[in-house]
């Protein structure tokens, strides 16, 4: 027994070709491993926003420390900023500043603090009005800052988005933000690796959002705890980068530390034209490294899950966590199908949502449609929404917000005339930010309102106190805007 075990270990050493992508990225960034302490990991890219950084900068100041690598630190304003155009100065009033925006005092103080901190510590800031400002997880990839094989952290759980490039990217708390600012390192126990293999192909009207909602419904909101999910299989390979980001973005909603997708030609093509991606000889050298990242065919995963893409229909959530999802033509599950521990939560969720077991969601009236967030606010998402809204009208009484993820997405959408499609349909075309995903900025549901939202969390009150959220894809959300109720978008395509 012992001999067999020893032989196995030896063969692993002799054949280093049984590594997962996680193994590679993790070991490549190992700085030190002190006795009795977790591994110390180097961080290649640290992203910041206004909500989770002020106390970290205050900590640095209290200890008289500097930001160790301002050149690896990038900040943006996204969470608490306004997105409605009325809050912004008219174009003749000169550049946007915190002074000429309509903003509550707490938000203004928090944003001003970020400006002051970035100025004092020499950190690059994409402030409101700047040409690259946007949601932190949208601007990283779009600028080419996010690259394969990197370690990326941010005081934000949806940092998992960046894993779509084969980076190890995860959310951290404010104490860790302080640690990374000061040392460019953090202590991180190595997570386990879980493979989620998605075979087959997604059907018409079924998107990456539907895929990830189906995955979370399958493995549960705690199903990924302690793991990094690696998404593999034909269905994943066939997704473009924006769709891959949508999948990795919601890994955290399955409780996972991060999500990853192996880089390939789709990844490299996306990066090749990005401002901050390596250029010339550095690009060739990077490409060489990136091609060596994917998990080996014999790599050992701690857990494997297999999903058939062709069986997935457009998904929608019915409850108050992202794992409570069903196909849009389905019915709200009966609690008897659940374990007893889940029954109480299920009953509570249905009470909050105002739904009954066995009820069909199709035809359910809604009040608001929100298309945006780091899950679904990129250009492909907006094009999908426009495809449904083009030549149609938003149903009477439905407030529809379309919020681009960044200034760059906004410019691109306007160049393509999508803004006119949205406004002609009767939807509101906004400035970039987190907006109603987190409802910190006044963009919020009123108590009791139902919304179909492309964001990532349907927790109680997430989109406004008492608000009730159905999570879905941009296609499904746009379909709901047009009909005023939950709709199978496949009938509108």
């Amino acid at each position: 027994m012992n001999a067999a075990k020893a032989a196995k270990t030896e063969s692993e050493d002799l054949h280093p070709s049984s590594k997962t992508m996680l193994d590679r990225v993790f070991s490549e960034h190992l700085v030190a491993q002190g006795p009795g302490a977790p591994p110390m990991l180097y961080v290649d890219l640290h992203l910041l926003h206004e909500v989770t950084s002020p106390q970290a900068f205050a900590g640095l100041r209290a200890r008289g420390l500097r930001v160790r690598r301002p050149d690896r630190t990038v900040a943006t304003m996204d969470h608490s900023i306004p997105t409605n155009r009325a809050s912004f100065p008219t174009s003749t009033a000169g550049p946007v500043t915190l002074a000429n925006l309509t903003l509550d005092d707490a938000a203004r103080a928090q944003l001003r603090q970020l400006e002051d901190n970035c100025r004092e510590f020499g950190v690059e800031l994409h402030a409101l009005g700047g040409e690259h400002q946007g949601i932190v997880h949208v601007i990283g990839p779009e600028l080419g800052l996010t690259q394969p094989g990197m370690t990326i952290v941010c005081g934000d759980s949806h940092t998992s988005t960046h894993g779509a490039f084969g980076a190890l990217a995860f959310g951290i708390g404010t104490s860790e933000v302080e640690n990374v600012l000061a040392t460019q390192c953090l202590l991180a126990t190595k997570p386990r690796a879980m493979e989620i293999r998605v075979d087959g192909f997604l059907g018409r009207g079924v998107t990456a959002k539907d895929l990830v909602l189906a995955i979370i419904a399958e493995i549960g909101v705690g199903g990924g705890t302690g793991h990094v999910l690696e998404f593999t299989g034909d269905a994943v390979r066939s997704l473009d980068m924006e769709a891959r980001m949508t999948v990795c973005n919601m890994s955290i909603e399955a409780g996972a530390r991060a999500g990853m997708i192996a880089p390939d030609d789709v990844t490299f093509q996306y990066l090749a034209r990005r401002e901050r991606a390596p250029k010339g000889a550095a690009w060739d050298e990077a490409l060489h490294r990136w091609r060596a990242l994917p998990s080996d065919p014999e790599a050992r995963f701690d857990r494997r899950v297999q999903i058939d893409a062709s069986r997935i229909e457009p998904m929608i959530t019915y409850g108050t966590h992202p794992g409570m999802g069903i196909g849009v033509t389905g019915v709200v599950p009966d609690a008897s199908m659940l374990s007893s521990a889940e029954q109480a939560a299920h009953a509570r969720a249905l009470e909050y949502m105002g739904l009954r077991p066995g009820e069909r969601l199709l035809g359910k009236k809604i009040d608001v449609v929100f298309i945006g967030s780091c899950t679904n606010s990129r250009i492909a998402d907006l094009r999908a929404a426009a495809r449904v809204l083009d030549g149609r009208r938003v149903a009477a009484g439905v407030r529809t917000l379309i919020v681009p993820g960044s200034m760059a997405v906004k410019r691109q959408a306007e160049a393509e005339g999508l803004d006119r499609i949205f406004e002609d349909a009767g939807a509101e075309w906004r400035n970039p930010g987190c907006s109603m995903c987190i409802a910190m900025n006044g963009d919020q549901l009123r108590p009791g309102e139902w919304s179909v939202s492309t964001s990532n969390r349907n927790f109680e009150g997430r989109q406004g106190k008492g608000g009730r959220t159905f999570l879905a894809s941009p296609l499904t959300a746009a379909a709901a805007a047009v009909t005023g109720c939950i709709t199978d978008v496949r009938g509108l395509l």
Partner: protein, 196 residues
Amino acid sequence: MATFTKLTSRYVVLDRNDVDTDQIIPARFLKVTTKEGLERHLFADWRWDEAGLPREGFPLDAEEARGAAILVAGDNFGCGSSREHAPWALLSFGFRAIVARSFADIFCANALKNGLVPVVVDAEMHAAILASRASEPRASLTVDLAAEEVTLEGATAQRFSVDPFARHCLLSGLDELGYLLSHEKEIAAHEAARRT
């Protein structure tokens, strides 16, 4: 740096699963630049009614909760957003330990960094804790971090474990940032080797 060795206290039961950090502290209260004063917003939407008065039956403001330093919850406590405001709010309310059947990863790490101890108990002990609360509102729990044992008053102890380094930091008052800073040589070597 926060320290923690052993705590005996009455406990508050919030018998819910998947309590997310948006419930622990709703996002609209995150427009702050310090860690202080968040206790007012702890579980705000569950705790206060439209008029800002305590909701009948919410356990946090019940008579027996006064002075309790331990919160007992169900599965997957602290899921969702990575906001460290969640442990800050729990701590400033007066909690020093959370007992649950499981925790979300990021919450667990954030809690430990602030001296809030996450204690995982099995279903049986969880049920016993709830039953004991039902029959004896002033029942207490002891969380012993040094021994990694949790004990329900009048019952046998059960083992729990937390990340060994975080435990060491809490027991000895060692500061994590100080530890990282002491590795300056290794950090510089890593950067030099990778020309980063």
